[in-house]
Symmetry: C2
Amino acid sequence: MTTTGRPEAPGAYEPVLDRLGDQTGLRPSERKVAAVVAERPGEVAAMSMAELAGAAGVSEPTVMRFCTTLGFGGFQDFKFGLARELAVGTPVTHSAIEVDDPPATLVTKIFDHTLSSLDRTRRSVDTAQVERAIELLLAADEALFVGQGASGILAQDAAQKGVLFGIPCAAHADLHQSFMAAAVAGPGTVVVAVSHTGRTTAVLDIARAAKENGATVIALTGEQGPLVELADCALVLQTLEDTNIYTPTISRLAGLVLVDVLATGVALRRGPEHLERLARMKEGLSRFRGSTD
Amino acid sequence: MTTTGRPEAPGAYEPVLDRLGDQTGLRPSERKVAAVVAERPGEVAAMSMAELAGAAGVSEPTVMRFCTTLGFGGFQDFKFGLARELAVGTPVTHSAIEVDDPPATLVTKIFDHTLSSLDRTRRSVDTAQVERAIELLLAADEALFVGQGASGILAQDAAQKGVLFGIPCAAHADLHQSFMAAAVAGPGTVVVAVSHTGRTTAVLDIARAAKENGATVIALTGEQGPLVELADCALVLQTLEDTNIYTPTISRLAGLVLVDVLATGVALRRGPEHLERLARMKEGLSRFRGSTD
DNA sequence: CGAACACATGTAGTAGAGCTACAGGAGGAG
DNA sequence: CTCCTCCTGTAGCTCTACTACATGTGTTCG
């Protein structure tokens, strides 16, 4: 965006609630403020300075100091940061799922966690690599999506977007088939290797085989590692630390969105007549409702 | 939450930017304000009343009237609403994808759209139906996930969460297999029928067959329709109007998150020893890195 | 065709918000 | 015990958001 200090959108983003925990560097009375904020962030977002000061049992300047200590320009700035964080969903760290949560709470917590996690992922996406991936896909004659387990589903999803990519796309359920396809690949093939861990051996083997045949390899992964080193282009998706039971979903969601970005990017660059074909196809699809989705 | 008029979190939620388009009911000079807000919402969120008035070329009370006309309590309230909406991502309606968008813009727009769309979906989820679905799954002996095309991938993903559900889960790539499975289903079987349109004939047939055999049917769909009428429990996910090329993804993402909610809900209710088994399994998985994801 | 009305807009004024400079007081070191 | 340092609250200032009122403009009806 801009490089001025004046925030265009509400400020450079650093998690607010996270920092309330490590009270190092916070003065004693400021911790009272932190406690109130951590306890009822929603209410605090609607409070005035005097109200928050009263609720915490301190004076107004203390609240002010609390804000500046946290790195905000002032109380207003702090409130916006808080509102922003609340809007995007309370990170699960602060609202861990409990065994006796009713379904309504469960829905809220999981959606919140998903939203805030996707939000963070967005900020970590390397657009240069995305651009490169789009170019590689544009130059390719065919694409092969490879992944195992959860990542396999992501690969299949990507392959379904073949019409957008405008080239033949495949994602084999069986990795042996993928290996065979990679073994006969040529310079015109792009292999998109999906692996959350970045070290799935089967996927690595396939990527390596493809590369030896002169094919291009795009890595879609969650961590640095052997797959990234091997690939011509690496899309690394940072998600929140995976600590919970239901975790792998987040990275998969982030992957899906990124595949969307790639597909859309490629489709747009293929020019107007390609987009027209897509529109016609969509129209046709909707007319023959009842057999597809 | 609370039932008081005083907003706990920043206000009852109604899209702000959407309403800037239909300028019916807006006074001429208020439209100048609306234009500025629609054009540079990010900057506006950081402006004071005087600044916005200056930017729009009107007086401060006009800005004030603009806010109240939109249904906000005042300028502050409006700013919070705006900030909230910006935080969660600008809906694509207001930042449609252009052919010449650079990748960075593409990433931002698509992520924004996804986030805001998921945000809306969250608000429309019927928690009573979620609770019912969880109960049905808890009572079941086995689960069968059915879907075609994009929804098929969703079904597969759900089936992969079988360990969480704690019962045998299947999702056949071939719908004939699904039909056969449904044909031999009994009262202990839960069929989760996934269809974005809610009128996919093949899926409907399978659901109907299962129901005739006494199985329970949970519908996971995007619209009211025959599937919902047929089902014992209907999870209807409202997403933004599907107008764009890359649309189906949103509904699929929403579906994934909801499946997450179901899986987590079921797992939690199965009791501590089930959770322990899960933890052990996860640990085992991470140790044998290199073959799974 | 003109007068009166209603509506839209800006001007003036007020209470309170956020922020700053300064002084008092508690706690620890010498 | 005394001094120094850091923390906290008091007092005051500026500018903000908001309200009441007056002016102007467009429209309708006699």
